[in-house]
């Protein structure tokens, strides 16, 4: 025991890793390459011209796979014996009808080629599965044997295990970067596809938004952008004063007891799902504004409006602004306050002339972050702002936002490869760029203008 380089369990871990890792690697490679190999084998069954275009080949392969899986599940359900399944042919029996009986729905009748190909597919898949299992087990055993062979008292097992663990940790930390790359690539590629179908300048500067699924749509961004900003401005007009005064009161005036009750209550607002606010906007705020303000003053007759969504988003953002601003004001050193009081300033004068200027960069940062949240907010505007894309100044009119249109274009039944659907990705890209820009700007403001008190 004393002569061992590492604690005994590290030798065990070392063996386990050597058995597991290469085997997993083989398995992954197999799973990725196997379909490609099968596809190449099946090419013989079909005329070459059907295999030339990517889209055709993918459809064909999907057909083959579906038929093969259908036969498999028919065998599993006992409707076909294994021999019957192999003997199936399109002349003697209608494959589609027979599979239909066991609940495997096929879109079209099965052609002879597809059936032959799918029989071959089943063969290849089952032998492939067998070989895959054998190969994986062999590699695992080989890894284990190698580990046992090199295991000796002076093997630096701990260092080896730890470097593998470190690699795993490092990979986990790159997920965040991969997510960003995934977001950018997925939206960028679809946006580029969109720009091949619809002139991009018309998208960016178009004044009309009227998608039709018959092909003559106008997909102008500006009405959506206007709705988004209008609603966000209303939201910020509600959230900034309310949030700031809440923070001021909590940070400077409230007694510890009041603070310990009010602060968690305000933060409850942040914990409530936005869909709840959406229903509140739809059922309560919208009709209230319509019946008591918009209709008597003749401004509009719609329950869903810029005001409805803006006010509710504003309330949602209050805890966000107030808790950030509260933290920032608490970070302003007591000495500044005392100095101001010593000169005879009242509390409110101290706050306005000393604390707020000192906390300003942080507060501006918080406001920018809140604005980016208001712009990206989806559920409240979907339920409370309406669906009509308009360039209008009346805050009691229904307007729509980028996020609403992303939802409506992607949840409809439209064909995926049409500009009407792909425009959602371009909208998403716009949203991503705007919010990212605001976030980066907010962080920059905070970093550049922050006062350092030490």
């Amino acid at each position: 025991m004393r002569r061992l380089h590492s604690l005994p369990n590290y030798y065990g871990w070392h063996g386990a890793i050597l058995a597991f890792l290469p085997a997993m690697l083989v398995l992954t490679l197999w799973v990725i390459t196997h379909p490609i190999l099968i596809e190449r084998q099946l090419a013989d069954f079909f005329p070459a011209e059907q295999f030339e275009r990517d889209a055709d080949r993918i459809l064909l392969m999907a057909d083959v796979r579906r038929v093969a899986e259908g036969i498999d599940s028919a065998v599993a359900a006992g409707a076909l014996s294994a021999e019957d399944a192999i003997a199936l042919n399109t002349d003697a029996d209608n494959v589609r009808a027979r599979l239909g009986e066991v609940g495997v729905a096929l879109g079209a009748d099965v052609t002879a080629e597809v059936l032959q190909a799918s029989q071959r597919y089943r063969e290849l898949a089952s032998t492939g599965g067998l070989f895959r299992a054998i190969a994986t087990i062999i590699v695992a055993l080989g890894g284990l044997a190698y580990a046992i062979k090199i295991t000796a008292a002076d093997l630096r097992a701990r260092n080896r295990v730890e470097s593998v663990v470190l690699g795993v940790l490092m990979m986990a930390s790159t997920i965040a970067v991969l997510t960003t790359i995934g977001i950018v690539i997925s939206m960028l590629s679809e946006t580029i596809r969109f720009s091949t179908m619809y002139p991009f300048a018309d998208f960016l500067f178009g004044l009309t938004w009227s998608p039709t699924f018959q092909g003559v749509s106008q997909l102008g961004l500006l009405p959506l952008l206007w709705g988004t900003f209008y609603i966000s401005i209303v939201a910020m007009l509600v959230a900034v004063p309310t949030g700031l005064f809440t923070a001021i009161y909590l940070a400077e005036y409230a007694s510890p007891r009041v603070r310990s009750v009010v602060k968690p209550l305000i933060e409850v607002i942040a914990g409530i799902p936005t869909v709840v606010f959406g229903l509140f906007a739809l059922v309560t705020v919208g009709p209230f504004l319509r019946d008591y303000i918009a209709e008597p003053s003749g401004l509009g007759t719609s329950g869903s409006s810029v005001m409805t969504a803006g006010i509710v988003i504003g309330i949602l953002n209050v805890p966000f602004i107030s808790s950030l601003a509260d933290d920032i004001m608490n970070a302003v050193p007591q000495a500044l306050r005392d100095g101001s009081y010593g000169l005879g300033a009242t509390k409110s004068e101290t706050i306005r002339q000393v604390i707020l200027p000192a906390a300003l960069p942080g507060i501006v940062g918080a406001i920018l972050l809140a604005a980016s949240r208001a712009i990206g907010e989806t559920m409240i505007v979907t339920m409370g702002a309406g669906a009509a894309a308009k360039l209008d100044l009346n805050p009691f009119e229904a307007m729509t936002t980028i996020t609403v249109k992303i939802v409506s274009q992607l949840t409809g039944d439209g064909e995926f490869n049409s500009p009407e659907t792909l425009v959602a990705f371009a909208l998403g890209m716009t949203l991503f760029v705007i919010t990212l820009g605001l976030n980066i700007f907010a962080l920059w403001v905070v970093r550049k203008y922050r006062e350092q008190y030490e």
Binding site: E162, V165, L166, V168, L169, M170, A172, S173, I175, A176, V177, T179, T180, G182, I183, S186, M187, T242, F245, T246, I248, Y249, L265, I266, I269, P273, T274, V275, V276, F277, G278, L279, F280, L282, V283, T284, I315, V318, G344, K347, S348, E349, L369, S372, I375, G376, E377, T378, M379, M383, I406, V407, L410, T411, F416, F425, G428, T435, L436, I440
Partner: protein, 455 residues
Amino acid sequence: MTDATSANVPAQPETSAPASSLLLQTDRMKRRNAAESRFKAYGIVAICVSLSVLFIMLWTIFSDGVSAFRQATFSFDVTLDAARLDPNGNRQRDEMMRVTTIGYTGLLNDNLIVYLNARAISTEGVTEREIAAFISRDTPARLRHMVIEDPSLLGQTIRFEGFATGRIDGYLKGRVTRDSAERDTNISVAQLDLADRMVDDGLLSLKFNWGFLTNPDASDQRPEASGLGVAMIGSAYMMLLVAIMVLPLGVSASIYLEEFAPKNRWTDLIEVNISNLAAVPSIVYGILGLAIFINFAQFPQSSPLVGALVLTLMTLPTIIIATRAAIRAVPPSIRDAAMGVGASKMQVVFHHVLPLAAPGILTGTILGLASALGETAPLLLIGMVAFVANYPSGPLDGGVLDPATALPVQVYSWASRADPAFIERSAGAIIVLLAFLLIMNILAIVLRRRFERRW
């Protein structure tokens, strides 16, 4: 400031009082004090505004939603006429299946009229057709299911409970009034009068409706039969998967960034990335999920697995931020002591830092899960808003690949339906959702209170 500034204030005329006094307020001081109390009042008003909106919102949703848990239910004697429900008389399941719900509807209608006559409830002004319209379309289907499961009931007279239609339910709950019934083609005032008499008799009453928690969603015409069953299963699967994926990923990433990462460009990039991802709008993650998991990787639409993957990516930054804070809170002296007795860096982290940070990490994870549970927008894009009438299978039978919905999405899809009866159910679903969130938050607070150590 009183003394110094008030020297400039013109002296008060003709009084023997001194030009300025600490005991007397000058005009200017009065103004300043007024400004002071105004400023303070703004703060109080701001707090009152946001808190009163919060309370109004919760109150309206509770008062709208509580009624979703109770449903107008008939309870009357039904004679299961064997000749009608099993024409061949051999109790064969296949042959009994041939009697469709239409056959059961007729049976129920006839039995209801018989029962009304037997109890001497006057049906004047209401046609038989209109009496038939009292019974929800869901009710015959339920009776049929009951009889097919248990053929021995045939020929007996049983006390059967079934839902009334949504309009009658609305009348009992005050949503439908006599005024609105006059304008409504689906219900007449005479029917409401009859409903009153049925309530007096005890035939019709509001009963607690477990179906609201267990039934799957129902079509637009049958709000009374819809429930949260599929949505709750979908949300549960997603939370399970998110917890399984996000905890190891988040903890590993945080450990690396907090304990091992060298200070270089790559690490900086990761840090900036994480803080920016935390502020990306949630709907962008929905687009990511649609493009990568559904279109590229060909995972099935509306499945909890895709939902969980999207929610994992979405909550990962928040979890990493919380976990790093928890790890940072473990004092360096612990690390130094462990290093001092010969532990390797990895052993220090896994044997000492991680156990000490565990309560903080768990609290952060639960709060992250709570925010994932309430997230709606990304799930809309990956198709979880679809109408799902079948329960997904068990988690080990590939249930995570079956179509399902989620609690917040169900709230949204009910809120966007035309019949106002669905608004009540939407608010009811919110109550269920908020109850789960409350439980998770309380759990997090309890964990923090019990296990958190202050160094």
